[in-house]
Assembly symmetry: C2
Homo-oligomer: 200 residues x 2
Amino acid sequence: MEYFPPALEALTEQFARLPGVGKKSAQRLSFFVLGLPDEEARAFAEAIVTAKRTISLCPVCRSFTEGEGLCPICQSSKRDESTVCVVADPKDVAALERSREYNGRYHVLHGVISPMNHVGPDDLHIKELVERVSAGGVQEVIMATNPTTEGEATAMYLSRLLKPFGVKVTRLAYGVPVGGQLEFADDATLTRALEGRREM
Amino acid sequence: MEYFPPALEALTEQFARLPGVGKKSAQRLSFFVLGLPDEEARAFAEAIVTAKRTISLCPVCRSFTEGEGLCPICQSSKRDESTVCVVADPKDVAALERSREYNGRYHVLHGVISPMNHVGPDDLHIKELVERVSAGGVQEVIMATNPTTEGEATAMYLSRLLKPFGVKVTRLAYGVPVGGQLEFADDATLTRALEGRREM
């Protein structure tokens, strides 16, 4: 027997579809929305519709952009366009931007090559990257895919694809994470950290 | 510098307002919604608007209901109306219904008395409960507020308020949780479990 009205169950089901939201959290979110003032609930619904309607992928880097135009980073004349950082996902753009260390452009693949999940090179925005590099002007491509097996394989694949164009292809450094503890670092990480040691 | 378009940031901010959703999860939820097919994103937005527009509080028990009518439980002729279970929150109705053990009606207070948070009896749906009981027909009121200090105090307050009407007022049993381990039970729980022991 249903103990809540169908419109409430329907909202809970919508929340339960979101990644990382279980049945109970979904119910809590529904109750929260019902408790919002009318105009705030409407603003929430409108933010979904507006984002979905106006946001697309940047024609150059495939990160998110408004409408048909370039994304904020590709638009900016302050960003060095001779350096392109390749990431798997838009959230990696956000992570790198938070470091405030990088001043080049990006290229978002929207995934990594993963034969297990039937994701091949053609399912990613690789063709656009090759076109960007072959058009000239790019001097360095930084591979910033995750340091996982699939991230590595994707970086390796792209490196082979891009080197013939005469660009420098680099990879993020491996090592012990800042603020971490040596005793918890795995062997592979420690090996890479030793290999990559620098004079102080 | 903003690296994502404003409509995306606006959606992320909306998600970040939800309880238990941090900045990073909010961003993940935004990306997920952007990745949905158009009609599914629209269905999500519409579920919010529809729930907000059509759902109100049941005129009898103050649980959620559709429009002006009675909630599914108050509507059902199969539920024993001589027993009323008092809970703090609609999610407690869901928890009790999941047990499939209870066949009476409910009364939802929408909170507990909490002087620390400036919540007094007048801020809760207590007047409606007293009216229900004074109208006659109710034989037992089960206090199912949480076994916390505030839940106890609220149960105690209501018990004193309702007993003059000649109804039986009961409280959920305390004891060790089923499937739990004795060594992790706190002293107060063990004391209550011993006091409430039953012959086998």
